[in-house]
């Protein structure tokens, strides 16, 4: 068990009649990459803001390195929070933002920041006000990486970044983390893009933590069983079903759990199809019920119908 660097104890946040966080208990250990995943409005940003003392909880406690980060320079200089819409002074240019970061973060690597700026093709001498949305995000990403803070929070840092720039970010994150291990908390709704970078996954939905587990434990923890509805339902009797879809007499059912070798053989002999479930797919199934996953309309039921053997 590694040291715990960030901890939430019974954290709740209420905005008028909306309970944005509902008694959240959470621990982040040192030198691991965490994914904070969930739908838009699930409470990801609220949680990060409170953990970094940018906002106050209605009740409960947020601890970083065992203390409160609020107006605590000893804690703040070891922690970096890159938010979706960071504000800068009006006449600031990226080079000024980097200069401030260099003063504030003791592990700041200026060479690394310069290299990243070149790779992201960031005009460091242009006023931040005049930058595009993607360039503004690049400023945050560069500060988050080059600060090498012991705890770094990235709150959906990729807004406006194109696919190439996002890949650059992920590649540098993995490579730099390997050389300089630290705790990274990455919030995202682009689960497929980040899932393989994560060691641990926290899924938040409606202000509550619904999954808090190692990514490797979650992978392979569900199966899609498909075939004629009667056979599928018979085979799955007594199992936990996350989702069920039908097409005529065929059914495609997402089941939580793992089959033994014997059960796999039985399924095979019944002519049932078994297919694995990706991390994203599983999280979608667990967080949406039958509603839409707001950020990912790409999930078409047609894909599943096609998995059904003819």
């Amino acid at each position: 068990m590694s040291a715990i660097v960030v901890e939430a104890r019974k954290l709740s946040k209420r905005y008028k009649d909306v309970l944005a966080l509902d008694s959240v208990d959470l621990k982040f250990e040192e030198n691991r990459i965490y994914g904070l995943l969930g739908r838009n409005g699930a409470g990801k940003s609220t949680l990060m803001s409170i953990l970094t003392s940018q906002a106050f909880p209605t009740s409960g406690e947020a601890l970083v390195f065992g203390g409160s980060a609020y107006e605590n320079d000893a804690v703040l200089s070891r922690m970096c929070f890159i938010r979706e819409s960071q504000k800068y002074p009006d006449d600031f240019k990226p080079k000024h933002a980097f200069k401030s970061a260099a003063l504030f973060y003791r592990n700041w690597d200026q060479d690394f920041a310069d290299r990243l700026a070149a790779e992201f093709r960031l005009p460091v001498d242009r006023r931040i006000k005049k930058l595009s949305r993607g360039q503004l995000s690049a400023v945050g990403v560069i500060i988050g990486l080059a600060s090498r803070a012991e705890v770094t929070f990235f709150d959906e840092p990729y807004l406006g970044l194109d696919a190439v720039a996002r890949q650059l970010f992920y590649d540098h994150l993995v490579a730099d983390y390997a050389r300089h291990p630290r705790t990274i908390v990455l919030s995202s709704h682009l689960i497929d893009e980040v899932s393989m970078l994560l060691e641990h996954v926290v899924v938040i939905d409606g202000g509550r933590i619904i999954i808090d587990d190692d990514a490797e434990n979650i992978r392979g923890s569900a199966v899609v069983v498909s075939g004629t509805a009667e056979l599928v339902d018979g085979f799955l009797a007594g199992r936990t079903v996350l989702h069920r879809e039908t097409l005529g007499s065929l059914a495609s059912v997402t089941m939580e759990g793992v089959f033994s070798a014997q059960e796999r053989r039985e399924a095979q002999e019944l002519g049932l199809g078994l297919s694995p479930v990706s991390l994203q797919h599983l999280i979608v199934r667990k967080t949406m019920g039958d509603a839409e996953w707001s950020a990912k309309p790409a999930e078409k039921p047609v894909d599943e119908a096609m998995e059904v053997p003819r």
Binding site: R32, I33, Y170, D171, V174, A175, Y177, A178, R179, D192, S195, M196, L197, L198, E199, A215, E216, R219, G220, A261, R265, Q268, E269, G271, P276, V277, S278, L279, Q280, H281
Partner: protein, 128 residues
């Protein structure tokens, strides 16, 4: 090298990829294998996960560690892997084949003929 997907534990897939390279001779015995950070960067996966995959092979004696230098393929690793895979061959390949053959009404004799033909073709290819 193959692709990693997100529907099975990644450390298992990393271990399988290294095993494949040993079985087909891409990684010779006593050859050095890439570091976990190289695996992580190449496959864009978490370094701790890559390390777990490599450690599975260290624990089973397929790889061994030389302090300060890196990870190497153990002598005898290939024979060990071939023996294990031969055991799994029946469940993984032969059984699904017979299930599908029955579905299509292919008799065991016909299936045997097909296998002999495919094996003959594969042999010819290997010779060339």
């Amino acid at each position: 090298m193959g692709m990693i997907d997100d529907s099975r534990p990644i450390f298992v897939q990393i271990a399988e990829l290294i095993e494949n390279d040993i079985v087909d001779g891409t990684l010779a015995e006593e050859a050095q294998v890439p570091s976990t950070n190289e695996f992580a960067a190449f496959h864009r996966i978490n370094p701790a996960t890559a390390a777990k995959g490599v450690n599975v092979l260290v624990d089973s004696g397929i790889l061994y560690k030389r302090r300060g230098i890196g990870m190497f393929v153990a002598t005898g690793a290939r024979a060990k892997l071939v023996a294990r895979r031969t055991e799994q061959f029946f469940e993984q390949y032969v059984r699904p084949l017979t299930v599908e053959a029955r579905k299509l009404g292919i008799s065991p004799q016909e299936l045997g003929g097909m296998i002999a033909r495919a094996a003959g073709a594969a042999e010819k290819e290997a010779v060339q």
